[in-house]
């Protein structure tokens, strides 16, 4: 194969020259075949004695000479000049045609048409205008032959030859033009492709550089939730090499590494690219806490092609948050203890444990108690306030089951309720959806507080928890008890973060832990409402109304195109 290719190779680098030389090779091949067949025929004829050897001897010699000629032309074409080879070929052809038949036939008969062949070939083997040269040469040869046998040179035929030459010239020219245009076009295209590829490579490497440089982890998921891109930073955060991350789908990536609470929220975020709250989702990963935010990636047409998720190491912030909380509870405890001691001793004095006291002494002691109580309240609320603010960092809005939540709270309070002989009931109305959106942990705090208080302040009767649909956009929780109730004056300040106790009132027993002020603040945070109905001696009912769709969620939805 290679040998043949080597043989057929042409020295010219010009595409037109190459084409012509190749064409010549093809023609030579054709002629060779014909010649070979003729040789075979003569050999057969000679061997079988069909004709006299002397008759066919010149023919066979002629054929042998033709062979030599073909080989020579081939060699010239291959190793020297296509021009020369083609010219020789055409001349040879013309010569051969001039002697194929009797001179009469050549100039006036059936052999005349043969001369059209080299005229047409000239256009494609040499140059388009070479057909005219060939036509001239052929005409000359015919004229000479004609004159040699006293014939009139066939002028119309010669004119015909020139016409053929014209046609050949036109076709060859337009062909070569077309080919040239194509070549130019090709080159132009090639150039453009090269330039564009270079541009693309530059942009790509810039983008790549940016992605590699960012400190935050980036994963891009396609519409089937498969990771198609991951940068080095995420490899560091997750502790897996980049090529293991790419190709995984969301569930595989998260696997069992994330606690079940966070898992569903996280998967939902990574699959949809929709953020429930601007703060994103926080989750534990090994010994780190990570925070992730996501967004959809869309083209100019609006078509969504994937989701990009940005991960950040939140461990430090989470640690600070925990430290703050733990500092808060310690400080809280430390500050409250001496105040409680003061109240205790004051109480003792008032009760006459240390001896009888006068009315004036009693009154003064009462003032000490009221102010200490007030201080206690301020301290408690200041610290609770700070705690809420600290806790806000870890707010996670997600779908949750209301039935589960209420169930949890009930089981926590049930023991105490039963010990006191109270009837603790809960009920969820049918028109409340089974899954609601919100921060489950915070709602739990609210509920445990309200229900815990209800049980604490009720000595007999019942505590009931009701959940129902307030209207199309809101749902409500109602905690009602048959306890001691809250006076109208107290109702005024029961939610206040900084209670301004009426100075003439006696100190009331209060529990600590998270107060109603916290409950109100949490409800406000969720853009809900809390109201109280109470009558001293009859009981209290706290009603919390919350939006079905947390505001952060709806704001985000409205903002996205």
């Amino acid at each position: 194969m290679r040998v043949i290719r080597h043989l057929l190779d042409v020295p010219s680098t010009d595409p037109d020259g190459q084409r012509r030389a190749r064409l010549l090779n093809i023609l030579l091949l054709g002629v060779t075949v014909v010649t070979l067949s003729a040789l075979l025929a003569t050999a057969v004829v000679g061997m079988t004695g069909l004709e006299e050897w002397e008759q066919i001897a010149p023919l066979s010699r002629g054929i042998q000479a033709a062979f030599v000629g073909i080989l020579t032309i081939f060699a010239i074409n291959r190793f020297w000049s296509g021009w020369l080879a083609s010219s020789l070929f055409l001349l040879l052809l013309t010569a051969v045609f001039a002697f194929t038949d009797t001179p009469q036939q050549v100039v006036d008969g059936r052999a005349l048409f043969l001369f059209a062949i080299p005229i047409m070939m000239a256009s494609v083997l040499l140059r388009p205008w070479a057909s005219f040269v060939m036509a001239t040469l052929v005409s000359l040869v015919i004229a000479v032959i004609a004159l040699s046998i006293d014939f009139v040179p066939p002028a119309p035929t010669m004119l015909g030859f020139f016409t053929i030459a014209l046609v050949a010239w036109l076709s060859a020219r337009s062909l070569e033009r077309a080919l040239k245009d194509l070549r130019v076009l090709n080159q132009d295209l090639d150039r453009r492709v090269v330039a564009r590829t270079r541009e693309l490579a530059e942009t790509l490497s810039k983008t790549q550089a940016i992605l590699e440089g960012i400190a935050d982890g980036v994963i891009v998921f396609d519409n089937d939730a498969q990771a198609i891109l991951a940068n080095p930073a995420i490899a560091g955060l997750l502790g897996w090499p980049t090529d293991e991350i790419v190709g995984c789908d969301v569930e595989t990536l998260i696997g069992d590494n994330v606690s079940s609470n966070d898992r569903d929220v996280l998967i939902d975020l990574l699959r949809s690219g929709e953020m429930a709250s601007p703060a994103g989702v926080k989750f534990e990963w090994g010994d780190k806490t990570l925070s992730v935010s996501a967004a959809t990636v869309s083209l100019n047409t609006g078509e969504i092609i994937g989701i990009v998720a940005v991960f950040r190491d939140f461990t430090r912030e989470a640690e600070i948050d925990r430290m703050k909380s733990s500092f808060m509870s310690t400080a809280s405890h430390e500050l409250r203890t001496p105040l409680n001691a003061i109240l205790g001793y004051t109480d003792m004095l008032q009760e006459g444990v240390c001896g009888p006291i006068s009315e004036r002494q009693r009154g003064t002691l009462e003032r000490i108690a009221v102010n200490t109580d007030r201080l206690l309240g301020l301290v408690s609320n200041l610290l609770d306030q700070a705690q809420i603010e600290a806790g806000m960092l870890m707010l996670n809005v997600a779908p949750f089951s209301l039935a589960d939540l209420i169930g949890d709270v009930v089981s926590m309070v049930d023991v105490l309720a039963r010990a006191k002989g109270l009837d603790l009931t809960s009920h969820i109305a049918d028109d409340v959806p089974t899954t609601l959106f919100g921060d489950r942990q915070r709602l739990h705090q609210i509920l445990i507080n309200l229900v815990g208080n209800a049980v604490k302040f009720t000595e007999e009767g019942s505590v009931s928890i009701r959940a129902y649909r307030a209207d199309a956009e809101r749902w409500a929780l109602k905690v009602a008890d048959t306890g001691c109730g809250i006076s109208l004056e107290a109702q005024e300040y029961v939610f206040d973060p900084f209670r301004r106790a009426d100075e003439s009132l006696t100190r009331e027993h209060t529990g600590t832990g998270l107060g109603l002020s916290i409950v109100k603040q949490l409800v406000d945070l969720m853009e809900g409402e809390i109201t109280l109905e109470s009558e001293v001696g009859r009981g209290s009912t706290f009603t919390v109304v919350l939006p079905m769709v947390p505001p952060a969620w709806s704001k985000l939805r409205a903002a996205s195109p």
Partner: protein, 118 residues
């Protein structure tokens, strides 16, 4: 008949005094113990009628003492008043406590409640 005995297990100086006074005013003989280890030891030798137990103790945890009291048949009659600052803890406590009070406890409240337990 001698007065019923109350054991106050509380590490804070002032609070333990107040609790002791309260139980005293309710008619008990109060004894103050300030650590969990001492409480465990004392419970082995005395049979109190009421134990006022603070959960936040140095040494053995308050909940351990509670478990021990309930496990001991000799102390089956003892009433335990658990005192704690943690409201959530209070609400999750098992039925082993007869009464769970959340700090701050008022003197008079403790006195009246414990009087009922006599």
């Amino acid at each position: 008949m001698s007065n019923p005995i109350a054991l106050i297990v509380e590490d804070d100086y002032d609070l333990s005094n107040i609790f002791a006074e309260a139980l005293q005013a309710a008619g008990f003989e109060s004894e103050i113990i300030r650590t969990g280890d001492k409480a465990a030891a004392r419970l082995a030798s005395v049979t109190p009628d009421v134990v006022v137990l603070d959960l936040h103790l140095p040494g053995i945890a308050g909940t351990d003492i509670l478990d021990r009291i309930r496990a001991d048949s000799r102390l089956a009659e003892a009433r335990v008043i658990v005192v704690t600052a943690d409201a959530c803890m209070a609400e999750t406590l098992r039925e082993e406590a007869d009464l769970v009070l959340v700090k701050p406890i008022s003197f008079s409240q403790l006195r009246d409640l414990s009087a009922r337990l006599k």
